[in-house]
């Protein structure tokens, strides 16, 4: 297999739980087949901090804070094809359950009412990503080319999706692979 022909893939998790990435690992021994076809850029597996030009970007998680936007825009800029993987990236998912709660109440609950935090002060450190009023799916912030639903998408769905995509086919899931839960 010629390395120069390998498809370069980046992935990240924004407001997600890394469950989709865990599901990706669940393709088990097929990972070896995958590695014949692709090379990884920034992913949670490689410890590369920034995304460089890639063929495919896979984003898990929704957009809940300013830092998510920076990462997402970097992915969009560098990736020819951007994939929203999992319920959070596609609908906001579980983090979006906070969308019905006032942000001020969230802060108070976490920093002021919850025991154990000395002083109960709301932090203002610039290094902490500032949260949005609401959590949004990634397609409300950048253009997204493909969607791979599921919480998480089953390993077979991820495999089917990736193999279709790598083979130049329009990705299409079988009925039992399409799930929103």
């Amino acid at each position: 297999m010629n390395d120069r022909k390998k498809v370069r893939i980046a992935s990240c998790s924004l407001a997600g739980c890394f469950g989709c990435h865990m599901s990706l690992l669940d393709i088990d021994e097929r990972l070896f087949d995958l590695l014949d076809l692709v090379e990884f850029d920034r992913t949670p597996l490689t410890d590369i901090k920034h995304c460089s030009p890639c063929d495919v970007g896979i984003v898990e998680g929704g957009v809940c804070n300013a830092e998510n936007v920076h990462v997402l825009k970097e992915f969009r800029k560098n990736c020819k094809v951007l994939v929203a993987m999992g319920a959070c990236a596609i609908t906001g998912g579980l983090p979006a359950m906070r969308n019905n709660i006032d942000l001020w109440d969230c802060f108070q609950e976490v920093y002021q009412y919850e025991g154990g935090l000395e002083g109960g002060r709301i932090p203002n450190d610039p290094e902490l990503p500032l949260p949005f009023d609401k959590v949004h799916p990634i397609y409300e912030v950048v253009k997204v080319d493909y969607f791979l639903p599921g919480c998480p998408p089953p390993a077979d769905a991820i495999w089917k999706f990736l193999t279709d995509l790598l083979a130049g086919r329009e990705p299409k899931l079988d009925y039992e692979q399409l799930h929103y839960d």
């Binding site: 596609i90 609908t91 906001g92 998912g93 359950m97 409300e140 639903p149 399409l178 839960d181």
Partner: protein, 240 residues
């Protein structure tokens, strides 16, 4: 000699007074729908069952069948539009499937699977809606209500109770409960009511039953809603 219509070229008999949907259900031909349930008076609000009858777009659940009517149902054009309607239902409410007990038995989800909805496409409304856990046996989670009024019809026409109604207008339409406090627990609603069994989504859930059937073994986990309905099963029969 019985009268007939055709749906996508297939000849289907009907009796006078039957709608296109009635005829299709009797012949086990699936026309996507959410607000329709043959046990109740047709409503015609979800618009998923829109078909082209003799060239005109009509709701099949309310349009009477007539001799020789040619109905288009499973066309790409119609299914594309139905998928968009389902997307609209998803974004106007808070449908977080991973958090919902009904997942796998939910007709909204099942229709979306059946129509191949990969994303809600439209921007989410994330509305502020009320959850009511006041009743000892039933949850009411308006986040998942699609305003099909099946519970309204069941309570009014079968249970004779009028526990539910609709208030507000337009996007502010909301399900209301027939009690002074507006809470389900203060109404005469009972878990044995028909209205507790008919919600196509997870808006009305019977407590302590949610995971009796594990995820993965639910109605639409392996069979499409089209297959399920073509075998003669109607909605609302899950969880026993």
């Amino acid at each position: 000699m019985s009268k007939t219509i055709t749906i996508d070229g297939k000849t289907i008999p009907f009796m006078d007074g039957q709608t296109i949907m009635d005829a299709a259900l009797a012949a086990r031909v699936y026309i996507p729908h959410l607000c329709h349930n043959p046990e109740f008076k047709p409503h015609g609000s979800c618009k998923l069952c829109t078909v082209k009858a003799n060239g005109r777009l009509v709701s099949s659940c309310t349009m009477p069948a007539c001799e020789g009517m040619e109905v288009e149902n499973g066309t790409k054009e119609l299914n594309d539009e139905r998928r968009d309607l389902v997307r609209m239902l998803f974004v106007e409410g808070n449908h977080l499937c991973p958090t919902c007990e009904k997942s796998g038995n939910c007709q909204l989800q099942a229709v979306a699977y059946c129509l191949g909805m990969m994303s809600p496409r439209y921007n989410h409304f994330y509305p502020q809606r009320e959850v009511d856990a006041s009743h000892p046996d039933v949850f009411l989670d308006r986040n998942r209500c699609i305003l099909c009024e099946l519970c309204v019809r069941a309570s009014r026409d079968v249970d004779g109770k009028n526990v539910f109604g609709l208030s507000g207008r337009g996007i502010g339409s909301r399900l209301v409960v027939n009690s002074c406090s507006g809470r389900l627990g203060d109404s005469d609603f009972a878990v044995s009511d028909k209205a507790a069994q008919v919600c196509p989504t997870g808006a009305i859930l019977i407590k302590r039953q949610g995971f009796k059937v594990p995820i993965g073994q639910r109605i639409y986990d392996h069979k499409t809603i089209c297959q399920v309905e073509s075998q003669g099963k109607t909605g609302g029969e899950e969880d026993e």
